[in-house]
C-alpha cells in the first residue's frame, strides 16, 4: 500500500511538472528562466511584466477572436450534422449502424496533412482559404465523429416508447425533436458541443495549412516561438490553456475510452 502512494506521488509530479515550469517562466523575470544557463527549479522572483509586455506588444486579440469564432462554428456545425446522424444511428439496427460508425472512425484516422494539402488548393480556388468557415469545415472532420458518437450514445438512452407515444399524440418529426428528444438529451448535446469546441480550439495541423495568414491562437503561438518571442508564446499559452483545462475537468465524465477511441488526433 505504501508503494502505491509513492507511485501516486511520482505520477502526480510527472503530470504537474511541465505546467509548473510554464507558470514559472510566465511569472518570473527572464534572467531567472530563459536567459539563465541553468535556470533555477524554484520561483526566485515574481513579475507580471512578461504578461503585460506580451499582450501590449504582440497581437493577441485577432488570433484569439479567430480561434473563438472557428471553434464556435465547429461546435454548431457538429450539432447541425451530428444530432440527426446520432439519432439515425441510434435507431438503425446494428447491422447498418456499425459499418456507418466504422466509416466515421476511419475518417478520423485519415492523416490531417493528407487531407489538408489538396483542400488548401481547392480552397484557394473557392475563396475559402484562410477564412473562418473554411477552417471550421475542415476541422469538423476531427470533431464530427466524436460528436456523433456522443449523440448516438445519448439518444440510445432515450426510450423508443416515448417516440411512439409522441407519434400517437400527433407530433411531427420536427416537433418530436424540438419538444422531446433534444430536451431529454440536452446534457449529452452540450457535452458534444463543448468537446467539439475544445478540439477545434487546440487544433494545429489544419490551422497552419488552411489558415496561415490570419492564424488561430495555436498557430500564432508557434509563429512567436519561431521568431524568438518566447515570452509572448508562454504568456499566450497560459491564457490559452486555462479555459481548456477547466473544460476538461468539467467534461471528465464524457471523456471516456470508447468516445475517445473515435475522436483523438495528434
Amino acid at each position: 500500500m505504501k508503494l502505491s502512494y509513492i507511485a501516486v506521488i511520482i505520477f502526480s509530479i510527472y503530470f504537474l511538472l511541465p505546467l509548473y515550469i510554464l507558470v514559472m517562466i510566465a511569472f518570473s523575470p527572464a534572467k531567472y528562466t530563459i536567459e539563465s544557463l541553468y535556470p533555477p527549479l524554484t520561483f526566485k522572483s515574481f513579475t507580471l511584466n512578461n504578461l503585460v509586455y506580451a499582450f501590449t506588444q504582440y497581437d493577441f486579440i485577432h488570433p484569439f477572436i479567430k480561434s473563438l469564432s472557428v471553434a464556435t462554428l465547429v461546435g454548431i456545425l457538429g450539432l447541425v450534422i451530428g444530432i440527426p446522424a446520432g439519432y439515425g444511428l441510434s435507431r438503425l439496427p446494428g447491422k447498418i449502424a456499425y459499418p456507418l460508425l466504422v466509416l466515421l472512425l476511419v475518417t478520423n484516422m485519415v492523416p490531417g496533412i493528407v487531407v489538408a494539402i489538396p483542400i488548401s488548393a481547392e480552397f484557394i480556388r473557392l475563396h475559402l482559404f484562410d477564412s473562418i468557415p473554411g477552417l471550421a469545415l475542415v476541422q469538423e472532420l476531427i470533431t464530427l465523429p466524436l460528436a456523433t458518437f456522443i449523440m448516438q450514445g445519448t439518444f440510445s438512452a432515450v426510450p423508443r416508447e416515448i417516440e411512439y407515444q409522441a407519434r400517437i399524440d400527433g407530433a411531427s418529426t420536427l416537433s418530436y425533436f424540438k419538444n422531446v428528444l433534444i430536451p431529454t438529451a440536452l446534457p449529452g448535446i452540450i457535452a458534444a458541443f463543448l468537446i467539439s469546441w475544445m478540439f477545434s480550439w487546440d487544433e494545429f495541423t489544419y490551422a497552419i495549412i488552411i489558415s496561415p495568414i490570419h492564424p488561430t491562437l495555436p498557430v500564432e503561438i508557434y509563429v512567436n516561438i519561431t521568431r524568438g518571442n518566447e515570452l509572448a508564446a508562454v504568456a499566450f499559452s497560459l491564457v490559452f490553456t486555462i479555459p481548456v483545462i477547466i473544460l476538461t475537468l468539467f467534461l471528465q465524465k464524457y471523456l471516456k475510452g470508447e468516445y475517445l477511441a473515435g475522436g483523438v488526433k495528434a
Binding site: T107, P111, I113, I119, E140, S237
Partner: protein
C-alpha cells in the same frame, strides 16, 4: 425496411460531409502525387523523395511510434492499475491524470522545448543540480526522437490510461478473489489475471494511438523542426518550400502506412 430508410436519411448529411472532406481529398492527394507542374502524369515525385531521404524519414516515424507507444503503455498500465484501487485522494489523483488532455499540443510542445533546451533547459538544470553531466538533447537523431517520444507521452498517456482503465473495470472481481485464494501475490495477479483479460483493450489502445503517433506533427515541428524529419514534417516542409505535387507524394506514403493500421483496426473492431 421503410423505417430504416428514414433513419438512414438522417445520417445522410454526415455521410456526405465525410465524403467531401475526407475521401475526396484523400483521392485528390493520390492523384496530385502523380502530376508534375505541367499537369502531366509522372512518377518523378516519388523518385525525388529519395533525394529527401524518405527511407530515413519512414524509419524515424516508426521509431517514434513504437517508442512512444511503449512509454504510454507502460505508464498507462501503471496509472490505470493504481486507479482501480481504493486509496485516500484517489479522486484528486484521477482528476490530475486527465489534466494533460486539456493542454494543447502546441503548448505541451513549447513547454517541453524549454525543458529540453541545450543551454538553459530545465532537464539539464536538474542534472546539473545532481552534479551529473548535462546532455545535448539534439546531438543525434535518436536523442532528438527520444525527446519527441517523452513529450508526446506526457500529453497522451491520459488517453491510454482511460482506455485501459475501462478495460480493467470490465474484469470480474471474482477472478482476483480466486487468484488471491490460490495464493497469487499482486504481481502474479497482474500477470495472470489482468494482462490476459486486458489484451483486447491493449490492442485497441495501441492501434488508436499508433495511428495518432504516425500523424504526430506539432510536437516534432516545435521540438526538432525538420531535422530529423518525420513523414508529417517532411510533407509540410515540402508543402511550404516546393510543390503541392511533391508534398502530396510524401503525404500519400503516410496515407499508405495509416491505411494498413486502419484495416487492422477494422479487423480488430469486428471482434469487439
Amino acid at each position: 425496411m421503410n423505417q430504416n430508410l428514414r433513419y438512414l436519411f438522417f445520417t445522410l448529411p454526415a455521410i456526405i460531409y465525410v465524403g467531401v472532406f475526407a475521401f475526396y481529398p484523400s483521392f485528390d492527394a493520390i492523384y496530385l502525387s502523380f502530376l508534375n507542374n505541367a499537369g502531366q502524369f509522372t512518377l518523378n515525385n516519388y523518385k525525388e523523395l529519395f533525394y529527401f531521404n524518405i527511407y530515413g524519414t519512414i524509419l524515424n516515424t516508426i521509431i517514434v511510434t513504437v517508442g512512444a507507444l511503449l512509454i504510454q503503455l507502460f505508464l498507462g498500465l501503471g496509472i490505470a492499475s493504481l486507479l482501480t484501487r481504493e486509496f485516500k485522494g484517489k479522486k484528486a489523483f484521477s482528476t490530475l491524470t486527465i489534466i494533460p488532455m486539456g493542454v494543447a499540443t502546441i503548448v505541451a510542445a513549447i513547454t517541453f522545448s524549454f525543458i529540453f533546451q541545450t543551454t538553459g533547459g530545465y532537464a539539464n538544470s536538474f542534472l546539473h543540480l545532481l552534479h551529473l553531466p548535462t546532455i545535448n538533447w539534439y546531438s543525434n537523431t535518436y536523442i532528438s526522437l527520444l525527446v519527441v517520444m517523452i513529450s508526446d507521452s506526457w500529453k497522451n498517456t491520459p488517453i491510454v490510461t482511460l482506455i485501459l482503465l475501462s478495460g480493467m473495470m470490465s474484469i470480474p472481481k471474482d477472478l482476483y478473489y480466486a487468484a488471491s485464494l490460490d495464493g497469487a501475490g499482486p504481481i502474479r495477479r497482474f500477470v495472470h489475471v489482468t494482462l490476459p483479460n486486458l489484451k483486447k483493450f491493449i490492442a485497441i489502445a495501441l492501434i488508436i494511438r499508433g495511428v495518432s503517433e504516425f500523424n504526430i506533427f506539432a510536437l516534432p515541428l516545435v521540438l526538432i523542426g525538420y531535422h530529423p524529419a518525420l513523414l508529417t514534417t517532411l510533407a509540410y516542409d515540402l508543402y511550404s518550400t516546393t510543390t503541392i505535387y511533391l508534398s502530396s507524394a510524401a503525404a500519400v506514403i503516410l496515407l499508405a502506412f495509416i491505411s494498413v493500421l486502419i484495416i487492422l483496426n477494422i479487423k480488430l473492431g469486428g471482434k469487439r
